[in-house]
C-alpha cells in the first residue's frame, strides 16, 4: 500500500519583513485528518507561518524561501488566480479575533454564502439553504432568523462559530486556526475547541492549530510542533511529549503552565528567565541565552532537528543532559 501523501508540507519555509527574517526555515508535515499544534510564545513567528501558507501575510512581509506543498502545488509560487481556488476551498482559515474578523456591515449569512458561491456552482437560494445548515451544524440557534443578522448582534463565541461555519463551508482538507479561542471567555473556549475537534472528525479535515495554550494542545491535537524564535525546536506526538518533552525550551514551557487545566494552583509556576529578544544576533541555538543547560558549543551553529524517538524530532545539542532527571526543576 502506498502511503498517502501529507495534506500540507512546509519545506525550509522562510518568512520575513525586509531586513528582518522572522521564520527561519521550518519543515512541517500535516497528514490527512491530523490535528497538529504549532506552539510558541508571542513573536516566535507562528502566526506568520500560518498566514504564509495561504499567502495572506501582512503588507511588507514576504515568503523569502522554501516551499508550501499542498495538493502537488507549491503555494509559495502559485499564480494568484490559482491560489484563490485553494483559499477557502482546499485550505480555510480561522482568525484569532472574532470581533474584527467579520465584516461589520454585511449580514453574516451573506459572508458565509460568499465562500460557497465563490467555489461551487450553486444558486443563491441553494447557497442560502447550505448556509443555514452550516450555521445549525456549528451550533447557532435559529439559523434561519440569524442569517440576515449582523456581526454586532452576536457574542464573541457565536461570532467565532460563524467564522467556523464560513471556514468549513466548502469542506476544506485543511483548517488553519490561528489562536481561535484566545479572545474568548474561558467557559466558551472549550466549547469552541470541542466543536472544531468534532468537525475535524466529521468532515475528515486536518487542522493546524496555532496556540500558546499547552492545555489546548494536550486536549485537542494529535501532534505538537514547538517553535522558538523562528525555528521548530521539537516536534512529537502528544502522548510521549507530555510524558517528557526533550528540548529544554519545551520543558520550560511545560513547567510554566498549570496542570490539568486548573487555573488556581497552590504552587508557584516556574518561569523561563530572559526573553526572546535576547537571541538577536545569536549565531547558534536561539534559546542558548535562556537555556539552563547551554554549553559553549550551543552558541556556534544552530542545532538541526534530529530523530529522538518514533516520529519525534528535537533540535538540541544537550538533549542527553536535558533528559536527565528534572534538570530545569533542579535549577531553581
Amino acid at each position: 500500500m502506498i502511503p498517502k501523501p501529507p495534506v500540507l508540507e512546509l519545506l525550509k519555509l522562510e518568512v520575513g519583513f525586509p531586513g528582518a527574517p522572522i521564520v527561519k526555515g521550518i519543515d512541517l508535515k500535516i497528514e490527512e485528518g491530523e490535528k497538529v499544534a504549532l506552539v510558541g510564545e508571542s513573536g516566535c513567528g507562528k502566526s506568520l507561518t500560518a498566514f504564509s501558507i495561504l499567502r495572506l501575510l501582512p503588507q511588507a512581509a514576504r515568503i523569502t524561501g522554501g516551499q508550501v506543498i499542498f495538493d502537488g502545488h507549491d503555494l509559495a509560487t502559485l499564480p494568484a488566480h490559482e491560489l484563490r481556488r485553494i483559499r477557502g476551498k482546499g485550505i480555510a482559515l480561522i482568525l484569532q479575533e472574532p470581533m474584527t474578523s467579520l465584516n461589520p456591515v454585511l449580514p453574516i449569512g451573506l459572508q458565509v454564502a460568499e465562500n460557497i458561491l465563490q467555489h461551487e456552482k450553486l444558486s443563491r437560494r441553494a447557497a442560502k439553504e447550505r448556509v443555514i445548515e452550516l450555521l445549525d451544524l456549528v451550533g447557532i440557534p435559529n439559523p434561519r432568523e440569524r442569517y440576515t443578522m449582523y456581526p454586532h448582534n452576536f457574542s464573541g463565541g457565536m461570532r467565532q462559530r460563524v467564522m467556523i461555519a464560513m471556514a468549513i463551508a466548502c469542506n476544506p482538507r485543511l483548517l488553519i486556526a490561528d489562536e481561535p479561542t484566545t479572545a474568548l471567555d474561558v467557559t466558551i473556549q472549550a466549547q469552541v475547541m470541542d466543536l472544531l475537534e468534532d468537525l475535524c472528525s466529521k468532515l475528515s479535515m486536518a487542522m493546524l492549530l496555532i496556540t500558546h495554550d499547552l492545555g489546548a494542545v494536550a486536549q485537542w491535537t494529535d501532534r505538537v510542533a514547538v517553535m522558538y524564535a523562528g525555528r521548530i525546536v521539537e516536534t512529537a506526538p502528544i502522548a510521549p511529549f507530555f510524558a517528557g518533552p526533550q528540548h529544554p525550551y519545551s520543558q520550560g514551557l511545560m513547567n510554566s503552565s498549570v496542570d490539568d487545566g486548573w487555573h488556581y494552583s497552590s504552587h508557584r509556576l516556574t518561569e523561563i528567565t530572559g526573553n526572546v529578544h535576547s537571541a538577536l544576533g545569536e549565531r547558534g541555538c536561539a534559546f542558548a541565552p535562556r537555556c539552563p543547560l547551554a554549553a559553549p558549543g550551543c552558541r556556534e551553529t544552530p542545532p538541526p532537528l534530529e530523530l529522538a524517538g518514533p516520529d519525534w524530532h528535537v533540535a538540541c545539542y544537550r538533549r542527553a543532559e536535558a533528559m536527565a532527571p528534572s534538570p530545569v526543576a533542579a535549577s531553581h
Binding site: 477557502g88 482559515l93 474584527t100 465584516n103 461589520p104 456591515v105 459572508q111 464560513m166
Partner: protein, 323 residues
C-alpha cells in the same frame, strides 16, 4: 413611525438653533453701516432728507432694534418673511424664484464631487505610495488650495473663451425660448462649467477622505477573512472595502454641504448664475436686510434637513447604528 418621530425630534432641536441664527444674523446685519434707504438713495442719485425719512418710517426702519426683531420673528411664525425693499416683493417669492437654480447647481456639484472624489480616492488607496497615488495627491492638493472664484475664472478662460466648448455664464440661452429636449440640453450645457468650478474643492476633500478611510479599512481583519475565502480582489475592494469606507465619507460629505452653499455664492457670481448666491450679493449691496435674513434662515433649515438625511443614509450604510 420611526421617521415621523425623528422629524419631530429634529424640529424641536432645530428651533432654538434657528432662533439663535436669526438673532445673531439680525444683530450683525444691523451693525453694517447704512440701510436700504441709503442704498436706494445712493442708486437714484439724489434724494432729499425728508423723502429718506419718510421711506424709513414706511419700512419701519426707525423703530428700535428689539421692536424690529420681534416684528420679524412674529412674521416668520405666520410664514411672512417680510418685504424686499430692493425688489418690492415678498421675500418668500424673491427667494423661491431663485431657489431652483441654486439647488440644481449644488445638487449637480455635490453628486459630481462625491462620485469623482470617491473614485479618485479609491484609486489613490489602491495604488498607495506609487506614482498614480502621488500624481493624484498632488492634483488634489492643487484643487484643495485653489480658491473657487479663480478656478471658475480659469475654467471660463480655457473651456469657454479659448475652446468655445461651453457658455461662459447664465443658466440658459437668453431669448431662445427652447422647448422640451432642446431646453434640457441647453440647461445642461450651461450647467457644466459652474458645477465643475463648485465641485473642484470638494472633489479634493472627498478624494483624500476616501483614500484615508479606504487605507484604514484595507488593514482590517475582515479583509484578510475575505481574502481567505478566495474572493476576487475587486469584489473585496468594493463589497468589503468601499462599503465600509463610505461610512465616514458620507458623514463628512453631509457636514460639507453647508460649505458648498457658501461656495455657491461665489461661483454664481463668477458665472452670472441666477440663483440665491447672486441674490445674496445683490441684497448685501442693497442692504436688503429682510432678504438676507430669509436666505440665512432658509440655508440653516437646509443644513438641518440635510443632516437628518445624512444620518438616515449613514444608518442605512452602517447596520450598527440602525439597532
Amino acid at each position: 413611525m420611526g421617521l415621523l418621530r425623528t422629524i419631530r425630534r429634529t424640529a424641536l432641536q432645530a428651533l432654538p438653533t434657528m432662533f439663535g441664527i436669526v438673532l445673531i444674523a439680525f444683530i450683525l446685519l444691523h451693525l453694517m453701516p447704512g440701510d436700504a434707504v441709503d442704498a436706494i438713495s445712493g442708486m437714484s442719485g439724489s434724494s432729499s432728507q425728508e423723502t429718506m425719512e419718510e421711506m424709513r418710517a414706511a419700512y419701519g426702519l426707525n423703530d428700535s432694534l428689539p421692536v424690529q426683531f420681534i416684528r420679524y420673528v412674529a412674521g416668520v411664525f405666520t410664514l411672512n418673511f417680510g418685504m424686499s425693499i430692493n425688489y418690492s416683493a415678498p421675500v418668500l417669492d424673491v427667494i423661491m424664484e431663485r431657489l431652483p437654480a441654486t439647488l440644481t447647481l449644488m445638487f449637480t456639484a455635490f453628486v459630481l464631487a462625491l462620485s469623482s472624489g470617491i473614485v479618485i480616492g479609491w484609486a489613490m488607496a489602491v495604488f498607495a505610495g506609487r506614482w498614480v497615488d502621488r500624481l493624484l495627491t498632488a492634483g488634489s492638493l492643487l484643487l484643495y488650495s485653489a480658491p473657487n472664484f479663480w478656478v471658475g475664472l480659469m475654467i471660463i478662460v480655457y473651456f469657454s473663451a479659448k475652446l468655445q466648448l461651453f457658455p461662459a455664464g447664465g443658466a440658459e440661452t437668453i431669448g431662445a425660448d427652447l422647448q422640451g429636449w432642446a431646453w434640457f440640453t441647453d440647461r445642461l450645457h450651461h450647467l457644466v462649467l459652474p458645477s465643475c468650478a463648485l465641485a473642484a474643492f470638494f472633489v479634493a476633500i472627498y478624494a483624500r477622505l476616501t483614500r484615508a478611510a479606504m487605507l484604514e479599512v484595507l488593514r482590517q481583519d475582515y479583509i484578510r477573512t475575505a481574502h481567505s475565502k478566495g474572493l476576487h480582489p475587486m469584489l473585496i475592494q468594493f463589497r468589503h472595502g468601499l462599503r465600509n469606507a463610505l461610512i465616514p465619507v458620507t458623514t463628512v460629505a453631509g457636514l460639507h454641504l453647508g460649505n458648498m452653499l457658501g461656495g455657491a455664492v461665489v461661483v454664481e457670481t463668477v458665472f452670472n448664475w441666477p440663483g440665491l448666491g447672486r441674490l445674496t450679493m445683490n441684497a448685501l449691496a442693497a442692504r436688503d436686510t429682510q432678504v438676507l435674513l430669509g436666505i440665512l434662515l432658509l440655508s440653516s433649515i437646509a443644513v438641518i434637513v440635510t443632516n437628518v438625511l445624512i444620518d438616515w443614509l449613514v444608518s442605512w450604510l452602517d447596520p450598527r447604528i440602525r439597532s
